[in-house]
């Protein structure tokens, strides 16, 4: 579903990604972990070209997306993204947040979009919040609406950029539950997170990144119990 070859990204003099390659299968749940500044968020943001890679190739669903002439908007329609700070549209209700892109981008009619939005609100357990504005929602509720908003485009892949890092501890569970549900339904997911429990439970594969490289990758069971690289060992010893 996603293939990345020799990805490089620099911000000025800062070399953030130093040649990252990987492949994500359809239906696979890949969890990316690593210390802050390791490049994991940048790697994720390169997948839907929120960051333009300086070198290397990004392939999504058989199309190389970082090529001149590729309609990046078309690519992004198929790649949902969930952000650390939710980024809900504050001037729109939960329902409008979810239906806006399907109506304006996909060209669905309003009824159709709303029917599907209610289905998604059911899925994230927030049907009763449809008419509510984001500032009246808790952090966990905001993030669940944000997930529903991304799903409304019927994406083939979902990217999660530290989706629980800005949440109060008691709200992390409700968001992870929604993500687990998605994983079990077979959604292809790439998740940058510090939630090792989530990685262990639903991750098919864990990538450990440090200093712009993927240092080590393995199944969660292997990587957490038997890390090979000293840096992985050091990182895991600090957080587990």
């Amino acid at each position: 579903m996603i293939t990345v070859k020799n990805l490089h990204k620099r911000f000025g003099n800062l070399h953030v990604l130093k040649g990252v390659s990987n492949h994500v299968e359809q239906g696979e749940v890949v969890v990316v972990i690593g210390p802050s500044g390791s490049g994991k968020s940048t790697f994720l943001r390169c997948l839907n070209l929120l960051e333009e890679p300086d070198e290397g190739e990004v392939w999504v669903d058989g199309v190389q997306v970082n090529m001149p002439g590729v309609n990046i908007n078309k690519v992004r329609e198929e790649v949902g993204m969930v952000f650390q700070h939710f980024n809900l549209f504050p001037h729109k209700t939960a329902l409008e947040n979810i239906t806006l892109a399907p109506i304006k981008v996909r060209g669905w009619d309003k009824k159709e979009a709303e029917a599907y939005a209610y289905e998604l609100l059911d899925k994230v357990g927030l049907r009763d919040k449809a008419r509510v504005y984001p500032d009246q929602l808790s952090g966990g509720q905001k993030q669940r609406v944000a997930i529903a908003r991304a799903l409304a485009m019927k994406p083939k892949v979902m990217l999660f950029d530290e989706p629980t890092s800005a949440l109060d501890p008691e709200m992390i569970g409700e968001v992870l539950d929604v993500m687990k549900k998605l994983a079990k339904e077979g959604m292809t997911m790439v998740v940058v997170t510090h939630e090792m429990g989530f990685a262990r439970e639903v991750g098919d594969r864990v990538l450990f990144m440090d200093e712009g490289f993927i240092i080590e990758e393995n199944t969660p069971a292997e990587l957490f119990t038997n890390p090979q690289n000293p840096r992985t060992q050091s990182f895991l010893s600090k957080i587990l």
Partner: protein
């Protein structure tokens, strides 16, 4: 020293007539300014260097030269180029509107830039184009935020519109001048003119404060 209240009272119908012209003139000018300012403001946030450059030259020229000079350029300068005279109303609306556009552009630019980057990223990650992102996400939020400075711009324009008296457009200031030349009572007349401007500007600032509160509670 005597103070001729009767003169003020007798001049009032004519002055009010002028005040009404001032209100119309300002409203039209700021409306034109809003249209120009929205596009130029967006252009000032553009990554395209040519678009940004043209917008910047416009904003710098208007903000860096006196409005009075701009009014003369339009009313007297343009006819020389065009080969036909421009009606005074058109000249006044054009020069004030184009002037207002530059100031509104800077307000709009600041409004756009005040919106969190995450809003653009969320919209773009859903497949929205730059134009859709501006229209449905950024501008609605930006305009809500810039209502107070836009109100100030309206007030500033209402006062600056007195300058078109020099091209004999009969708005409030010009009406005052006309009465003054007949009565030779500048203190009473210009005091009355000043109070009328004050009433208008205070009314507008109240309306803006009200609108601001309404939008906040929404």
């Amino acid at each position: 020293m005597d103070f001729r209240w009767d003169l003020i009272i007798r001049s009032m119908p004519v002055l009010l007539e002028g005040a009404w012209v001032t209100v119309k003139l300002t409203t039209i000018a700021v409306t034109i300014g809003l249209v120009i300012g929205t596009f130029v403001g967006m252009a000032r946030t553009s990554k395209n260097k040519i678009v940004y450059g043209i917008a910047s030259v416009y904003v710098d020229f208007i903000r860096g030269t006196p409005l009075l000079v701009q009014i003369f350029l339009v009313y007297m300068g343009l006819p020389q180029l065009l080969g036909f005279p421009i009606p005074v109303w058109i000249a006044a609306i054009t020069s004030l509107g184009v002037n207002s556009g530059a100031y509104v552009a800077e307000i709009v630019r600041a409004g756009i830039q005040s919106i969190d980057r995450g809003q653009v990223e969320a919209a773009r990650s859903l497949g929205m184009t730059h134009r859709q992102t501006m229209r449905y996400i950024i501008l609605p939020q930006a305009f809500k935020r810039i209502i107070p400075p836009l109100g100030n711009e309206f007030i500033a324009m209402l006062k600056d519109s007195s300058l078109v008296a020099v091209i004999s457009l009969e708005e409030l200031m010009r009406k005052g001048q006309i009465i003054q030349t007949r009565t030779f009572r500048p203190f009473e007349i210009y005091l009355a003119v000043a109070v009328l401007y004050l009433i208008m500007t205070l009314t507008i600032s109240r309306l803006v404060a009200f609108a601001e509160r309404r939008l906040k509670t929404e």
